[in-house]
């Protein structure tokens, strides 16, 4: 597991380029910094300064090599690399609250922005006027949209929101694409159509993810639950109440396995059993090597009893790689159906790359289906 500490401040958001040699991240301020891998080191090669507020979302389109960023200044910029300089293009989102998350669609001809204005802006490029136009999806969202993920068909969009619900909308833009064929989520998909809405869990939906095939969507919410809706089982929802602190990020690594991480600073594996429609906890993925247990002297034992009223020998420091909450997970290699490497960034300013094969051999009880 490779861990690199970029900053002492939280990494607000990150995105990787296509060949995973460069990472764009926001160091908890108004800028975006791009780092390039130089052997074992990371060197900063670009600083993108255009936003007037904290950058809350970054996405890097792999094929067209464009960046889209959104921030609390209610703006989004599309960045194109011209020579050795990234040039921004302002996109008018027509929102009156902060933008919170942004995602390119799979075909990279549009992107979606979730915001505190309780709506989603779907932006696409209008060729005649040479600028980015946006359409809004408003109903029935009642609160901030925290997370977004696109279905592989480039039309359906899953949104997790602070009104405790996960929803799937159609973001079909007739100006840029053909009419989509029917999916397990529904047949008619006019723009803004609500295809699925979860019943209330009791927490803000922090992160949401479609499976590689698009027939499953999973989300994590602030009441320490992980849920999965399966279109193949008539949109039945499986819920798992976890024993951990709330999770903040989730992704599929195979069609049946998920990795999620959050305030416990440690990625965890979850497995979906299709036949029973149930989610189970598969284990923590960050098991530190057992440091040698040196015995406590009698003096230390009494000190412990006096200070903490416990004779527990457990260490007060975190044993995990990340020393603070993990806020984002991204798949590096293999896609969401055969992920072999994924990356986590967190509020400790560190970035960690996890190798699935090494995890499988190191943690013998791990079963990734």
């Amino acid at each position: 597991m490779a861990y690199h500490s970029f900053l002492l401040e939280p990494i607000s958001c990150h995105a990787w380029n296509k060949d995973r040699t460069q990472i764009a991240l926001c160091p908890n301020n108004h800028e975006v910094h791009i780092y390039r891998k130089d052997g074992a080191k990371w060197s900063k090669i670009h600083e993108l300064k255009e936003h007037n507020g904290q950058v809350t979302g970054i996405d890097w389109a792999p094929e067209s090599n464009r960046l889209v960023t959104c921030g609390t200044d209610r703006n989004a910029y599309v960045w194109t690399l011209k020579g050795n300089v990234w040039k921004p293009t302002l996109v008018i989102l027509r929102i009156n609250r902060a933008a919170r998350c942004v995602k390119w669609s799979p075909k990279e001809n549009k992107f979606a922005v979730g915001s505190g204005s309780r709506l989603i802006s779907i932006c696409y490029f209008e060729q005649e006027n040479d600028w980015w136009v946006c359409k809004h999806i408003k109903k029935p969202i009642r609160s901030t949209v925290l997370s977004l993920d696109w279905h592989p068909n480039n039309v359906l969009l899953a949104a997790g929101s602070c009104d405790f619900k996960c929803r799937i909308f159609s973001a079909y833009i007739k100006e840029v694409e053909e009419r989509p064929s029917p999916t397990p989520w529904g047949n008619k998909m006019p723009f803004g159509e609500l295809m699925f809405e979860s019943s209330s869990s009791c927490g803000w939906v922090h992160s949401i993810c479609f499976s590689a095939s698009g027939s499953r969507v999973a989300w994590v919410s602030h009441d320490s639950t992980l849920c999965l809706a399966d279109a193949g089982r008539k949109m039945g929802v499986a819920t798992l109440c976890t024993e951990t602190l709330p999770l903040l990020a989730v992704t599929f690594i195979t069609e049946n396995s998920l990795v999620a991480a959050g305030h416990d600073c440690c990625p965890m594996l979850f497995t979906y059993e299709e036949s029973q429609g149930a989610l189970t906890f598969g284990g923590k993925l960050d098991v530190p090597k057992q440091s040698s247990q040196r015995g406590l002297t009698a003096r230390e034992r009494f000190q412990n009893l006096d200070k903490k009223a416990s004779s527990d020998t457990a260490n007060a420091t975190l044993d995990t790689l990340h020393k603070n909450s993990i806020s984002q997970i991204s798949v590096l290699v293999g896609g969401k159906d055969k992920c072999s490497q994924f990356c986590t960034t967190g509020m400790d300013g560190g970035m960690s790359i996890w190798d699935v094969k090494s995890l499988e051999s190191a943690l013998k009880d791990l079963k990734i289906k």
């Binding site: 009791c202 320490s224 639950t225 976890t242 951990t244």
Partner: protein, 105 residues
Amino acid sequence: RTGEALRAFHTAIRSNPGNTRNQAMKEQAQGTMLKVLTSFKSSEIEQAVNSLDRNGVDLLMKYIYKGFEKPTENSSAILLQWHEKALAVGGLGSIVRVLTARKTV
């Protein structure tokens, strides 16, 4: 004697009024639950907690915190022991769900 306390415990858990706005009903359920919880001996608590399923542990945790809100003579001591055992089974997630729950007990 042990068997009776355990049976009373399960009955109290099962007869949780659920989604009701009737404050009197809720208070009655809370009072009953508190009586059952305080009637347990320390050594019996672990067995009772282990006999619950995930939803039961979440519900128990809600009742424990409700009991903390209105402390009586000796209730807090026994409730803290219940809390320790319930935490061992439900983890921090069960406490998070007490804090985020929209439907209180």
